[in-house]
Amino acid sequence: MEYEVVIGLEIHAELATKSKIYCGCTTEFGGEPNTHCCPGCIGMPGALPVLNKAVVEYAIKAGLATNCEISHYSRQDRKHYFYPDLAKAYQISQCDYPLCRNGYLEIEVNGEKKKIGITRIHIEEDAGKLIHDEYGRGTFVDYNRSGVPLIEIVTEPDMRSSAEVKAFFEKLKAILEYTAVSDCKMQEGSLRADINLSVRPKGQKEFGVRTEMKNLNSIRAIVRAVEFEAKRQILELEYGGVIERETRRWDDVKGESYSMRTKEEATDYRYMPDPDLYPIYVDQEWIEQIRATIPELPDDRKKRFISELGIPEYDASIITASKPLADFFEAAAKESKNAKAISNWVMGDLMKKLNDTGLEPSDIPFAPGNLARLVSLIDENVISGKIAKQVFDIMWETGEDPADIVEKKGLKVVTDTDAIRSVIIQVISANPKSVEDYKSGKTKAMGFLIGQIMRETKGKADPQAVNRLLKEELDKL
């Protein structure tokens, strides 16, 4: 039987505000355990929450950037459960009246465009962290993260494949980065996703029973978890089994998920409006003020890169998917006259370096201007494309200016025809067999001779000059 996979996401993004959601403590990542805390965020008796206005603004910004309606009235609710990292034994979140609803993002997979619905975006506080002592002295709690503001973005069950999930997630991540709502550092846990997934026979209207996988913190893990879980559910059904409504944990090392708890064991969160906090009222004027601060978003930037800088659509989508990468590209392209070449470098060598080193585009170790100057050096025939790759590697290591590197290492193209001619004569006399082959019409021999010449000149000889001069010399014979 053919199956259809149905996927919805719940994405938690830490907001990039300076202070926590209900107190003045810093949101900075790291820090000695329990040093970014106050009576409020460790749930001391008598402490009270005061909503950080910036949190509402950031969340509204995220809502506007994802085409949501902004609620003029929203409410903060307590979600109760016992866990040592949850200081008050309830999390302040939003239940029935979230700040944003009914949004969408448009994604493109294999050339097909599709809208993915966003059910809601609400604000809530993060919990602390348990630290299991490596020396077996027990479990400790670090409340530094307790009270860091989050938005939870809940999608409609509109995605049908891991490719769609990936496209949606990347798009959303880009928007959150562009709007500076979140720093989206997945390795620090500031962006993480829960996956709701079910399968159904193709054509069936009703949804199948869904499972939930929690806290996936890399795009790779999300894609693998979706593929694993879809396969698992289909196999289960194929062999006459049933899918249980349950929460599963993804083990990224083993590449499989396992059951955490079933629905029967599910907690009753006993939501109630938080009596310490009044409803949030947002008027249209405030919404418009926030709207005015939204910068150019990835889709618009992509269109502009295509039309203004003349780069291919594919390159433009890849580059604009990451704000720091797009910023890098744009800065380099603006300094150079050859945006297309910049785009090729970014799509090729730069991306490869990022992949190989695991660095983020924000960590590129040289300035965009250096890439622009590297491209100019090629375009002005100062160095060859091949040499340029060497220069690029050195730029990555040292951050030096490409012109300095070329100068220091003596990598300039040799255009001096006398010098090249003397090498050619030398190579011709050293390879009589090849010369004979050439004369007898085997044009391949020409390539071999060029290779020899380039080797002798360590790749620095101007290839055009080599070609022309070699022909001249061979014709003389």
């Binding site: 460790i42 001391m44 008796p45 008598g46 929450p49 016992f82 200081a87 034994a89 009753d268």
Partner: protein, 492 residues
């Protein structure tokens, strides 16, 4: 020496402050007098859980130093006060009269404590109460029950029983209590002193250990109405650290200390005089109404038809909020932790089973039930709707009258142990006080005589939101004309 000490503790805050200003007495003398009184009586009454003798004397000395040679002296400077033990005091044990917080030393002061300190008030110690402010008799304290100073066989009321008993027996000049459903007014009435529950949002709750956040309010318990106004001047006001604090202009409450109720319209709700109200109490309240008429007030009968639903709505809302507010006592961060446990769930279960008393557990269970999925709409949501209707009852009444008069409690102080077997009967004794919290109004309880057993009877004046001024004026008029106040010695 003993005699002069006793004389000093008889003074109201207003009178004592006057003597301090005139250099007739020193802050240290006054503080010592109270500490001696506490030494003498606290064993029998059990009003204080913690007495901060050393700290109080240090504070007294530093306040006296500040006052020496100064002309501008704050009205309450040097006055010793007791604080209910659910109000956080920096580095002074704050227990909520619970085993759960027997080892809790807050690292910060409640907003009201900061204000008292800035006003140079001397803090004598922390006052006994029903555990987590749940109770109407002070029998729910983990430490010891408080005795009514007028009759040691009887309860002082609750939950601010220690506060009312301390003020009545002159172990503190005034006290801060908290009122969630009558916890300031009912003990004030049982102990024959003045207790004011301010309008919700008038006094910062920052540092008040929450019972039911939407109902809790800190307020003064004093010997007379003038002291009540003085304390309100210090504690009322907007606090940005409490999101429910209301940002308005707060008046100088002493400007309402006027012997004048001419033309004031006072409503008597017929629902407050029906069955359940003790005849002797009823007679005293009707006497007070007549007295008001003789001072020129206009008495009108009014109706608050939703009164009968106030108790059930109150116990659902307050228990639901309590179940949430008290969830944080899990043995992880502070407070009591069970000695032995097998895992985290076991730690929670044992800590909470051993750390909380019976009444607290009862309310947590009630509240948890009311918030459970499937019951939320039937209980909690319904209770919120009733809350709205009760508020509207008052709104309608205040279109006709300026202030509402009735009993504070249907009975005078009952015997210790008399109602502990029947929690429901205990809950019903809150019938005249809970509506005020539900509707977020202000109300004052003041002495209006004694019953045939010689126990104080309290009457309650209920005001519009933020109209404490009218309550103070009406109460002051009655007090000035009848001479009835908490200044009366309770006989010990």
């Amino acid at each position: 020496m003993e005699g002069s000490f006793l004389e000093l503790t008889k003074l109201t805050a207003l009178m004592a402050a006057e003597k301090i200003r005139k250099r007739e007495i020193s802050v240290i003398e006054l503080t010592n007098a109270y500490l001696a009184r506490i030494d003498e009586l606290n064993g029998a009454i059990g009003a204080y859980i913690t007495v901060c003798a050393e700290q109080a004397l240090r504070q007294a000395e530093s306040v006296q130093k500040k006052l020496d040679g100064r002309e501008n002296i704050l009205p309450l400077a040097g006055i010793p006060a007791g604080i209910k033990d659910n109000i956080c005091t920096r580095d002074v044990k704050t227990t909520c009269a619970s085993k759960m917080l027997d080892n809790f030393f807050p690292p910060y002061d409640a907003a009201v404590i900061e204000k008292l300190s800035e006003s140079n008030v001397v803090i004598l110690g922390k006052l006994n109460m029903d555990e987590f402010a749940m109770g109407s008799s002070n029998e729910n304290s983990w430490y010891m029950p408080v005795k009514n100073p007028w009759d040691h066989e009887r309860v002082p009321g609750g939950s601010s029983g220690g506060a009312a008993a301390a003020v009545a027996s002159h172990m503190s000049c005034f006290a801060l209590g908290s009122d969630t459903g009558g916890s300031i007014r009912q003990p004030a009435s049982f102990c024959g002193v003045v207790g004011l529950k301010p309008t919700y949002g008038a006094v910062s709750r920052f540092g008040l250990i929450a019972f039911a956040s939407s109902l809790d309010q800190i307020g003064p318990i004093t010997r007379d109405v003038a002291d009540c106004a003085l304390v309100m001047n210090v504690i009322a006001g907007h606090d940005p650290l409490d999101s429910t604090s209301v940002d308005i202009e707060y008046p100088d409450y002493t400007t309402f200390l006027k012997n004048d109720v001419k033309g004031l319209k006072i409503g008597l709700p017929k629902e407050y005089f029906g069955s359940g109200l003790h005849e002797e109490v009823k007679a005293k309240i009707l006497d007070a109404a007549k007295a008001y008429e003789s001072y020129g007030a206009i008495i009108e009968e009014i109706s608050l038809p939703f009164t009968e639903y106030a108790i059930p709505a109150y116990y659902i809302i307050s228990s639901a909020e309590a179940s949430s507010n008290l969830a944080r006592y899990d043995g992880i961060k502070y407070g009591y932790r069970a000695k032995e446990y097998s895992d985290i769930i076991d730690l929670y279960k044992k800590t909470r089973s051993e750390g909380f008393g019976t009444e607290v557990k009862r309310r947590i269970m009630l509240g948890t039930y009311a918030l459970s999925s499937g019951y939320y709409d039937a209980y909690y949501k319904k209770a919120l709707k009733v809350r709205r209707l009760i508020f509207e009852d008052f709104q309608k009444a205040y279109q006709k009258v300026d202030v509402i008069l009735g009993p504070t409690s249907p009975v005078t102080a009952f015997k210790i142990g008399e109602k502990t077997a029947n929690p429901l009967e205990m809950y019903l004794s809150d019938v005249y006080t809970v509506s005020v919290n539900i509707a977020g109004l202000c109300a004052i309880s003041l002495p209006c005589g004694f019953d045939s057993k010689g126990l104080p009877v309290g009457m309650q004046l209920i005001g519009k939101p933020f109209d404490e001024g009218t309550l103070i004026r009406a109460a002051y008029t009655y007090e000035s004309n009848t001479g009835k106040s908490g200044v009366t010695n309770c006989g010990i």
